[in-house]
């Protein structure tokens, strides 16, 4: 018999273990329901709560902006966070633990696609309501989702395949300009191309085609780099792709019909939240499918030992070229979305600074990992927005953070993991009483 003092038993359990005990039996769908509840609270009661806590308005980015600007509002903001996010999430998550597990078990027996769609619908609902509070939130979340696509696609080259590519902003620019040219030429009255050729109402339905066209142009650009630089292994790709980045930039600067250095503006507002969300989900789904197949694992084989990969029947050159074009395609699509989110592009936004941002996200999040890319893109993106009031010091804090991560985890936060949607959506309690 175990006759130990209960007090002693309690104290042996650290706060971390207790937290894990609390969190472990909650399935993903439970969390999503909790988040949805919190967002609903904010949507309907946010104004009152912030008013009674003495806040000027609803804190847009989890209170970071408010707190950094006006330190006196710290208690109010924290109160808001607890009342609106903390408590509703905890209450819903804990009270719905059993039904959520039942639901997860039910979905687990269905096809993965069905389960994934249910989860995504819940998540999208929460996201939509959350972004509805302010236009600023909407912009931040759209740009973050585009950043996820960019990070994930460069991870395929730099992480999974182990080459070092620097041309992602170049691909992005090709996609952005191609998609913008198509939408402006056909569906908008603007200064560069004049009257719309087709009815503007059709524009939104043709937008995916414009995005795909942008992706294809970017992929062709990638082919131009790939043919000379994959003949041998080494630093050639880094150098050639960097050169490509500068060539694309100065090419666009000197092309008068796309506006030269002044850029293109007044793109139609096609990149709304559902569009960006859908394209991002497709991007994650397809890339994750690819890197988990034996065909995609060939990238890892090439990275770890190219000679062995070749001797084991892998056509290394073809694989490298196709993968490079594939990643560039997604960068082009992301660029197309980007142009229609900001509704303005100029060559200056696809320079070396954008490259630094993308590389920071991929190395921060973790190489060879879909989850890592998502985490890296979101955290760097949200962080750089949240620290905006610090102005120039932001660019000291974020690189410092990056250095710390590189010291503690040289391959990034969540590196070398497989993203398994089925595992993620599994019920977390083994015994669900019926």
């Amino acid at each position: 018999m175990d006759n130990q003092d209960p007090k002693f038993q309690l104290s042996t359990k650290g706060s971390r273990a207790r937290l894990l005990d609390f969190v472990a039996p909650i399935p993903l769908i439970g969390w999503l329901l909790g988040i949805l509840a919190a967002v609903l609270v904010e949507y309907f009661l946010g104004d009152y709560i912030s008013y009674y806590l003495g806040l000027p308005k609803i804190p847009v980015l989890f209170g970071f902006l408010t707190v950094l600007k006006k330190p006196l509002l710290i208690p109010g903001t924290m109160g808001y966070m607890i009342l609106v996010y903390g408590l509703p999430i905890l209450i819903i998550v804990k009270s719905l633990q059993k039904p959520a597990n039942k639901l997860a078990a039910f979905l687990d027996k269905r096809r993965v696609t069905v389960a994934a769609l249910v989860h995504l619908a819940l998540f999208y609902g929460a996201l939509h309501l959350w972004a509805d509070i302010s236009d600023y939130r909407l912009l931040v979340i759209k740009l973050a989702m585009i950043a996820i696509m960019l990070t994930l696609s460069i991870n395929v080259i730099n992480g999974y395949m182990g080459e070092f590519s620097c041309s992602h902003p170049g691909f992005m620019a090709l996609g952005a300009y191609t998609a913008s040219t198509i939408t402006l030429f056909f569906f908008a009255n603007d200064k560069l191309f004049g009257e719309a050729l087709l009815p503007e109402a059709l524009g939104f339905y043709f937008f995916p085609l414009a995005l795909i066209a942008g992706g294809i142009v970017a992929a062709i650009g990638a082919l131009v780099i790939a043919i000379p630089s994959f003949r041998t292994r080494g630093d050639y790709l880094a150098i050639i792709s960097l050169a490509f980045l500068f060539i694309v930039k100065s090419l666009i600067e000197n092309l008068e019909f796309v506006g030269g250095p002044r850029g293109m503006s007044s793109q139609p507002d096609y990149s709304n939240l559902p569009m960006v969300f859908t394209v991002m989900v497709l991007c994650i789904w397809i890339i994750n499918n690819f890197v988990r197949s034996t065909m995609g694992k060939a990238l890892n084989a090439i990275r770890d030992n190219e000679l062995a990969a070749e001797a084991m029947t892998v056509n290394t050159r073809k694989t490298k070229i196709i993968t490079f074009m594939f990643a560039a395609f997604w960068a082009g699509v992301a660029g197309g979305l980007f142009a229609h989110v900001l509704r303005y592009v100029n060559p200056g936004s696809f320079g070396i600074q954008r490259l630094a941002e993308i590389l920071a996200m991929v190395y921060f999040g973790g190489l060879n990992s879909v989850t890592g890319s998502i985490v890296g893109a979101l955290s760097i993106n949200i962080l750089s927005e949240a620290l905006r009031p610090l102005e120039i010091y932001k660019w000291i804090i974020i690189p410092l953070l990056l250095i710390v991560v590189m010291l503690v985890r040289p391959t990034g936060l969540i590196a070398f993991t497989e993203f398994k949607p089925k595992e993620l959506m599994k019920p977390k309690q083994n015994k669900v009483e019926v």
Binding site: N289, S293, T294, D304, A311, T313, N315
Partner: protein, 256 residues
């Protein structure tokens, strides 16, 4: 008809003649050994036949197909599996992934299947997993299936590499020093494994080895290579008593 046939192969690295006038006839189901002192050019011969280097002169035929000028991956898919002297395993891949990877050229679902996860892909991946598991069991490493291959004990790593080479359905298997760094116990185990795959998979084997005991026991025919030239070829008994071989290995005898 010979399965693998090499005629008058010569190779120069710059001004250095690494291999000179090398000939090989490997009949189906035979085991041939290649022995010789360090630096004799044994691994170079492997690399020349498997397409990593292209020979300066000569002709190589596998099952009637000319191999000169083909990429290593094409030669491998024609049915030439090989292992490496210094174990070229993939650092971040599990044992099962290693063996499945070698089935790359047998994949039928294509790049679009990989992107969109078609039904054909699910069936193919299942089939390959089953095939890989069967191979892992043959080589006695099935228990390690989801571990990283590089984290395995040395002997098991050797066996994983051989399982990987067998996954490409080879007609000819090249083994580059399969017992390097092994204890006598592991050596005996390796002999029985090679015997087993030889009979079970009906594959011709061409192997490089330093340990004469191993070669004498396994091979039907042995070639001795010194400075890129074959100085003796024959049955194990003939090779053992060949004065030139003894000289190359032990130096000249001056007594009597």
């Amino acid at each position: 008809m010979a399965l693998l046939r090499v005629d008058n192969m010569t190779h120069y690295f710059g001004g250095l003649r690494a291999v000179h006038n090398y000939n090989l006839v490997l009949e189906p189901g035979h085991i041939v050994g290649l022995i010789g002192p360090n630096g004799a050019g044994k691994t170079t011969i492997f690399n020349l036949i498997s397409g990593i280097h292209t020979p300066t002169e000569g002709n190589i035929e596998l099952d009637g197909h000319n191999l000169i000028g083909h990429h290593p991956h094409e030669i491998a898919s024609m049915g030439l599996g090989r292992t490496f002297q210094n174990l070229l395993l993939w650092r971040h891949m599990t044992v099962l992934e290693h063996v499945k990877m070698a089935c790359y050229s047998q994949l039928e679902y294509g790049i679009w299947g990989a992107f969109f996860g078609s039904r054909l892909r699910r069936q193919e991946e299942k089939r390959l997993t089953a095939k890989a598991m069967h191979l892992l069991e043959t080589f006695d490493v099935a228990g390690f299936r989801s571990q990283l291959a590089v984290s395995l004990p040395y002997g098991a790593q050797r066996r994983v590499e051989m399982a990987r080479a067998m996954a490409i359905n080879p007609k000819v298997l090249f083994l580059d020093e399969p017992t390097a760094g092994m204890t006598p116990d592991e050596l005996n185990r390796m002999i029985s494994i090679i015997r087993k795959i030889h009979t079970d998979f009906d594959v011709a084997i061409f192997l490089i080895e330093h340990r004469l005991k191993f070669v004498m026991e396994l091979c039907e025919r042995i070639q001795t290579l010194v400075f890129g030239e074959v100085i003796a070829e024959g049955t194990p008994a003939e090779i053992k008593n060949n004065p030139q071989v003894i000289e190359a290995y032990l130096g000249k005898e001056d007594i009597h």
